[in-house]
């Protein structure tokens, strides 16, 4: 494991979680005050889904859909480029700290469900379907509700935060806790 005292900050893979949290807080202050935008991810993913739906439904079909016409217009804008940036930022950061590593089946998953790549990828795909449907229904994810909404003391966001955590805890204990045999 990486020793917290080793190397320069650029090469140290993990930073103190309070420091990272404080910096995300500062980033929020900058996005709110300089660009008049909160941090959010899941709308950008819904915009990407609209772009992906064009070959299937046709451009007219996508344009005729209420959600893609009004709520998540498939276009390059602040929100969709923020999503691209998040991918690039993590890529740059992991390359700089030499922690970029191609991996498919995480250890905790393998210990519980075995080494099958197909099983893990199928579960991840289905998990992705469920999580984004939930995020769109609630109108936000861990970023848009969890951080940006909670820090404004929004009723919707604190409801989301508490219910999401309770649901995650229940799910994790059901599927990961092994019975003491």
């Amino acid at each position: 494991m990486i020793s917290p005292t080793s190397l320069s900050p650029i090469k140290t893979h993990r930073w103190n979680p309070y420091l990272v949290g404080a910096l995300i807080g500062v980033l929020s202050i900058l996005t709110f005050s300089l660009a008049d935008k909160p941090i959010g991810i899941s709308t950008g993913i819904a915009q990407a889904a609209g772009a992906c739906a064009v070959p299937v439904m046709g451009a007219e079909g996508v344009a005729a859909n209420t959600y893609w016409a009004k709520k998540a217009v498939p276009a390059w804008d602040y929100g969709s480029l923020f999503v691209v940036g998040s991918f690039l930022g993590a890529l740059i950061s992991s390359l700089m700290s030499r922690s970029f590593k191609v991996e498919t089946v995480p250890t905790v998953w393998r210990d519980r469900f075995g080494p099958s790549v197909a099983k893990r990828l199928t579960a991840a795909f289905l998990g992705g379907v469920v999580i984004i449907f939930g995020a769109r229904l609630a109108d936000g994810c861990t970023s848009g509700h969890g951080i940006s909404g909670s820090l404004q003391l929004a009723v919707s966001s604190w409801t989301f935060f508490l219910v999401m955590f309770a649901s995650g805890i229940a799910t994790a204990f059901v599927i990961f806790r092994r019975r003491r045999a």
Partner: protein, 195 residues
Amino acid sequence: MMHTAFAFITGPGLLWAGLLFGIIFGMLLHRGGVTDYHVIVNQFLFRDFTVLKVMLTAIVVGGVGIFILHGHQLANFHIKSATMLAVVLGALLFGIGMVIYGYCPGTGIAAIGTGKLDALAGFFGMIAGAGAYAVSYDWIAANILPVADLGKKRLPQLFGGPEWVWYAGLALMALVVFTLVNRFHRHPIGCCTQG
């Protein structure tokens, strides 16, 4: 929305700002360790509290900062509607999806950048799921969203009380959570193997 004095990033500049802020966000998610499947899943199993530490610190620092700016007309609030049935149902689905996927939408995108192929599979799932939502949107907008819609409310508006008490309470809650977590849970940073 009121135009605020520091909000000089507008028009095409917003595209670059989105990309730049996104890059910083992705770097921070990676450095915070929350692009790691184990950190996310172990949070829900109470084996690792990184997620809660990052989120609560961001909420307190960003919350106090934006509240002060808002008081000086230097930032707008962007509150999402408390469509309570939709938020509760959505959050229930979200928690289930987050444990099975092993990432949230943002950390999943960032995890793809760190080489995680399961995060990429989940991204395709998110594209499919968002498509399913868009296709069912008209029905949801007619039947789910209007149920128990409290509007764009903030907690002090719903429950009363002075703003500063809410922010002080928020900071105090974060401190109590951090103290309890650090007292009862001493795992080294980077510890991610199953106990």
